[in-house]
């Protein structure tokens, strides 16, 4: 197990290093100098040069890369060009919107998908199964931002149960949760559809196994056999998908935050792009990639802990 863990850690660090290099190089390609952009057309060359030095833009490419990576390792994500505050501070503020949003969406999608997938598998080939599978087929095809607009149309404009956008802050937790409800539902729907399908096919696979027949022969009812034996084994593929979905949720949140005008990480990236606040774009993208790679890593470790067969891969 230790050897497996070390191997995975090495590959985690390599992925992170490669990812940081890719992001840095992509950002380097952006035409335009942030310093002259910020100072406008009338700035003298000296002031631009001074600001460049101030922003740490004057070193060579290699120097700047190592400055950036070294800074991130010590929790220094640079200073935003436009807000003039540390990026870490900006990110921390926005995380309080994006993380709860992704977490609620993940919870919702799991809470929906597990029972639905199980029910579909249990009623395989019957009307319930067809109904659930048809609904998930539709759920996969619906773009989440369009679903979000429909939710706004029905629940914010027509019924007026929720506000159409904005975020009141966490000082009033109930109002904050209310503001995140529609966005989380919009995010969760496609994910729940995928997860329910995976859950169904994983369950159907395990239901055909010998140990289920043994359990039934032992005298367990069908329901007991599903709940006690099949479900546990079907959780492994379902967990992989949940891990993968984290990445989709993060990306989806970027779009959904724009639909609902939520001040999250996604909006931060967009503002960074339009305002040429490159250090914000760079660091937030790196953080998102880091989160995804870390989740994949944790899922791998969790498996190896659960299923020793996977350690020798």
């Amino acid at each position: 197990m230790l050897r497996y863990l070390l191997g995975r850690l090495l590959s985690l660090s390599l992925s992170l290093a490669a990812a940081s290099l890719v992001i840095f190089l992509v950002i380097e390609v952006i035409p335009g100098d942030p310093a002259s952009y910020m100072l406008g057309l009338n700035a003298t060359e000296e002031t631009v040069a001074a600001l460049r030095a101030d922003l740490g833009l004057d070193g060579t490419r290699t120097e700047r890369y190592f400055d950036w990576v070294g800074g991130m390792l010590t929790g220094d994500f640079g200073t935003s060009y436009t807000y003039r505050v540390p990026v870490a501070e900006l990110v921390a503020d926005r995380l309080w919107v994006s993380l709860p949003l992704a977490a609620i969406a993940l919870l919702l999608s799991t809470a929906l998908a597990f029972p639905l997938g199980t029910l579909a598998a249990a009623t395989r080939g019957r009307v319930t199964d067809y109904g659930i599978m048809g609904a998930t087929q539709l759920g996969i095809a619906v773009p989440n931002f369009w679903f979000a607009m429909l939710l706004v149309l029905v629940f914010a404009i027509t019924l007026q149960w929720f506000s159409a956008g904005g975020f009141p802050g966490w000082s009033d937790p109930l109002a904050a949760l209310k503001a995140l409800t529609l966005p989380a539902v919009a995010l969760a729907l496609p994910q729940a559809s995928i997860l329910a399908r995976v859950m169904r096919s994983a369950l159907l696979d395990t239901l055909g196994q010998d140990y289920i027949r043994t359990a039934r022969a032992k005298g367990l009812s069908r329901r007991q056999a599903v709940l006690r034996h099949a479900l546990r084994n079907a959780l492994i593929p379902a967990l992989t998908i949940i891990g993968l979905q984290f990445s989709f949720l993060l990306a989806g949140a970027i779009i959904i935050e724009n639909v609902f005008f939520l001040p999250g990480l996604g909006r931060l990236i967009f503002q960074g792009i339009t305002q040429r606040d490159l250090i914000v774009v760079e660091s937030v993208t790196m953080l998102l990639v880091f989160a995804v790679i870390l989740v994949t890593f944790l899922v791998d470790i969790a498996y190896a802990a659960v299923d020793p067969r996977l350690r020798t891969r």
Partner: protein, 271 residues
């Protein structure tokens, strides 16, 4: 033929035809703004009504289909054109350094939240349909590489491949003449799936303003423009969305049907 394939083929064929037809003819000019004809209800001269600028909705949906299909199709082409040879090379040299490099490179691309990078790419190189294609296409490469490698690996152990080897054929020739035709089924099914994902991705990118630029209509941008009008004219937000759903649903059903038709053993490939 499986029922799913036939049901899915209907909307897909409809949109393909509409897209093709829009090359030669649309009911109205999609670029002409006509304030006197703004927000007309469906019927009469405008079958589906007009938007807030007086543009014909049906014509915009037709050209939008063209944009979506073109972007997604070329993105699939990029993914297949680069991914399949990479996957075949990795399988042919299984366990070698080349295989390792290709697969780790794949893992790296998979690690990026695709939409984040697509947004980054289009933001860096400027929003346009071409950059949207590139952004979506890059993420298709590892998908096809993985499918091709997975399918090819099992074939390399088969007797007829060994026989070809003994007959003196090199890895490249074996990959092209024996492996590729036998994984074509897998690739076609994957291509339909990536096609439908491409339609969704294009819609999302153009919705946030990073896809095809005005005045070229695209489904995603039609939705973005309709958002402020959702109270006065919900129809403007409903129709493009329905078009996306119908197209994606059709492609997914076709993919499922194709999979069942081409190889029942593959039922579990899609996750």
């Amino acid at each position: 033929m499986p029922r799913a394939f036939l049901i899915g083929a209907v909307p897909t064929a409809l949109f393909l035809l509409a897209a093709l037809l829009s090359l030669a003819w649309t009911p109205h000019d999609v670029e002409a703004l006509q304030i006197s004809a703004r927000l007309l209800p469906p019927g009469g001269d405008y079958l589906l009504g007009t938007d807030q600028f007086g543009r014909d909705l049906l014509s915009m949906l037709m050209v939008g289909a063209r944009t979506s299909i073109a972007v997604a199709l070329v993105a699939v082409g990029i993914g297949m054109g680069l991914g399949v040879p990479l996957g075949l090379a990795a399988a042919a040299t299984r366990g070698s350094l080349l295989d390792e490099i290709i697969m780790r490179g794949n893992d790296l691309i998979f690690a990026f939240p695709s939409l984040v990078i697509a947004i980054l790419i289009t933001a860096v190189f400027g929003p346009s349909a071409v950059n949207a294609i590139l952004a979506i296409g890059i993420f298709n490469i590892p998908v096809f590489a993985r499918v091709a490698r997975g399918g090819a690996l099992s074939l390399w152990t088969l007797d007829y491949v060994r026989a070809a080897r003994v007959a003196g054929k090199g890895s490249v020739r074996i990959s092209a003449e024996h492996i590729l035709p036998n994984i074509a089924n897998l690739l076609i099914v994957q291509a339909t799936i990536q096609f439908s994902l491409g339609i969704l991705a294009e819609a999302a990118l153009s919705y946030v303003g990073l896809g095809a630029q005005p005045p070229t209509p695209s489904w995603g941008r039609m939705l973005a423009e309709a958002q402020t009008m959702i109270y006065t004219a919900p129809r403007l937000a409903l129709l493009p969305g329905l078009a996306i759903v119908a197209m994606v649903l059709g492609l997914n059903l076709m993919g499922d049907g194709l999979r069942d038709m081409l190889d029942p053993r593959l039922r579990r490939v899609r996750a």
